[in-house]
């Protein structure tokens, strides 16, 4: 009992620290402190650590491969080329350009992950809008929303999908069968809504002549990088179909792009190392430890019991409850711990819980961050801190859009999952 209380206290404190970030402590450090405390207090036996972390090799490899691939794609000029190509074809209508960029964002998310869209495509689109003298904010919102809204199109579109896909051995067919329609709805509804909301700002025309000639580090690197990226996308699909580990594909793509960069003399190892978010590995490792400790202490059993009870009610309501719970949690905390918590809670229902609950959980943790500012409630707190320092942010506008998009997607996705089950 003492351990149970201690474990719960450490878990709650860790989550609060991630949320509040006292004294500017990073999420990774807050999570690491929680993990160390869990082990030091015996809530998680140290002997379990190696097995626990070694079992996550696919997740680590996938995250690493994905980050390297994205960094090389950005260096090759793929994102700028993509945005310029769309701008030339959509000219002169800003609305057509917006739709094109939004759909391209969905494609980038599907094959290169939500992070690639949010963090790499967004600045490229921002630059495009500035060059074309178009209002920047609608484009920024479009990119950040589609990054999460298209995250459940494919199993590898959001790295956190892997927690559930790996644990419950979800097949590509099952994934698409349950989540293709909700994904298409999420993308289509979001785009249509934004075209209406931003109709005034987007009701202008632009001149293609405002686009500067493209500058690339190497044309040959760009062309061959495109080939490798397409091959990697195909390999992801194949690996998902065969149930092979996705990390092998991601790391293979990363090595392929690295070899090309070396061949064309554009490999900058120092820069590449700087572009990998190493703190993310600390964060997810610590989260694996904290959530495993919570699971071992039986704390996630309550979550499992709640999900089990909901599964007993109508399938639609249980899908909606699971998706909403996951979305709210992903928003309140962060979608990484929430995805792990949902995985742990669903494990309490047996080795193969009801498919509707699994896929609803994926939708929830993926789309949840869109509800408030740009990721989680932690972001809101952080935005308030920025405001105190006189930095103006656009969180309220983002929140208004999130409130329009997320509940509708959760409702429709739950209904579509229910129909598909």
């Amino acid at each position: 009992m003492a351990h149970w209380v201690l474990g719960l206290t450490i878990f709650a404190t860790t989550m609060a620290a991630i949320l509040i970030r006292p004294w500017g402590v990073s999420e990774a450090l807050a999570a690491l402190a929680g993990a160390v405390l869990m082990v030091a207090t015996g809530c998680l036996p140290p002997a379990e650590l190696v097995g626990l972390l070694a079992g996550q090799w696919n997740v680590y490899g996938f995250f690493l491969g994905l980050m390297v691939i994205t960094a090389f794609a950005e260096q090759a000029g793929v994102f700028e080329a993509l945005t310029s190509w769309i701008a030339r074809r959509a000219a002169p209508s800003a609305r057509r350009l917006y739709a094109g960029i939004f759909l391209a964002g969905a494609g980038v998310t599907a094959f290169l992950s939500n992070d690639a869209t949010a963090l790499i495509l967004t600045p490229a689109v921002y630059a495009l809008a500035v060059r074309l003298r178009l209002p920047v904010l609608p484009f920024m919102y479009g990119c950040t929303f589609v990054a999460d809204g298209a995250s459940f199109l494919l199993p590898f579109s959001n790295p956190i999908n892997l927690f559930l896909v790996d644990r419950f051995r979800l097949s590509l067919g099952g994934f698409l069968g349950h989540l293709l329609l909700p994904s298409l709805f999420s993308i289509g509804f979001n785009l249509a809504l934004f075209l209406v909301v931003f109709r005034k700002q987007l009701g202008v025309e632009y001149l293609v002549s405002d686009l500067p000639p493209q500058k690339r580090v190497s044309d040959r690197f760009f062309r061959s990088a495109l080939v490798v990226l397409c091959a990697t996308g195909g390999a992801y699909l194949l690996a998902s179909l065969l149930g092979a580990p996705l990390s092998v594909v991601a790391l293979g793509g990363a090595v392929g792009l690295g070899a090309l960069a070396l061949r064309y003399g554009v490999l900058d190892v120092k820069l590449l190392l700087r572009e990998i978010s190493w703190s993310l590995f600390v964060f997810i490792t610590a989260m694996f430890v904290v959530i495993k400790a919570v699971e071992d202490l039986g704390i996630t059993r309550t979550l499992g019991a709640l999900l089990a009870r909901s599964a007993g009610s109508s399938p639609f309501l249980s899908a909606l409850l699971t998706a909403s719970l996951a979305a709210f949690g992903a928003n309140l905390l962060n979608n990484v711990p929430m995805a792990l918590l949902m995985t742990s809670g669903l494990r309490q229902l047996g080795p193969s819980p009801h498919a509707g609950l699994l896929y609803a959980a994926i939708v929830g943790v993926d789309i949840g961050p869109n509800l408030t500012t740009v990721g989680s409630l932690a972001t809101i707190v952080w935005m308030f801190m920025l405001r105190k320092r006189g930095v103006e942010v656009t969180s309220l506008a983002y929140f208004k859009l999130g409130v329009l998009v997320v509940p509708a997607v959760l409702l429709a996705a739950s209904a579509l999952i229910w129909i598909g089950v």
């Binding site: 992070d115 949010a118 630059a127 003298r133 990721g375 932690a378």
Partner: protein, 164 residues
């Protein structure tokens, strides 16, 4: 007459056309463009916040965005200046960065122009336009409204065609 003319993202040449008849050849004209720092701060906040888990290739994007904004501002001013020069008006240009409404007023306060000129996006609404939520006719944009409210100088508000 010392004239200060704030040029927005679009419509610079139309603004010059509109005021050229009021100017003498020797009137000193300053064309100002303000790079709106709001969206960029939002972007930086987004990239540097909790969403920053994941690839960090955006470390490269800072330079790209600085250069893009500077280039766009120069192009906007060059376009307006070239139109002014064609009409025989010589002018100086200045790029500012910040909240456009505040920077325009700050810059004007430092110069005390005889005339401050700003454009009004979308032109005047029809006097009998129906009122509907979200599209209220007759409302000035954020920048024009703020400048109109706070300007302590003679002010010329030039309606610009929506797509100029």
């Amino acid at each position: 007459m010392r004239v200060m003319c704030a040029i927005g993202r679009r419509g610079g040449p139309s603004l010059i056309d509109a005021i050229s008849a009021l100017l003498d050849r020797d009137d000193p004209v300053l064309l100002v463009h303000v790079v709106d720092s709001g969206p960029r701060r939002g972007l930086e906040g987004f990239l540097g916040g909790p969403a920053s888990h994941g690839p960090r290739a955006h470390v490269r994007s800072e330079e790209l965005l600085d250069a893009t904004e500077a280039e766009a501002a120069e192009r906007i001013l060059a376009e307006a200046r070239s139109r002014a020069e064609r009409l025989g008006v010589s002018c100086e240009v200045e790029v500012l960065r910040g909240a456009p409404e505040r920077e325009i007023l700050r810059s004007a306060a430092a110069r005390s122009p005889d005339l401050l000129v700003i454009g009004r996006a979308e032109g005047p609404p029809p006097i009998d336009a129906p009122r509907s939520p979200g599209a209220e006719p007759g409302r000035l944009g954020r920048v024009a409204r703020f400048v109109v409210d706070h300007a302590a100088w003679r002010l010329l508000l030039v309606p610009l065609a929506r797509d100029s």
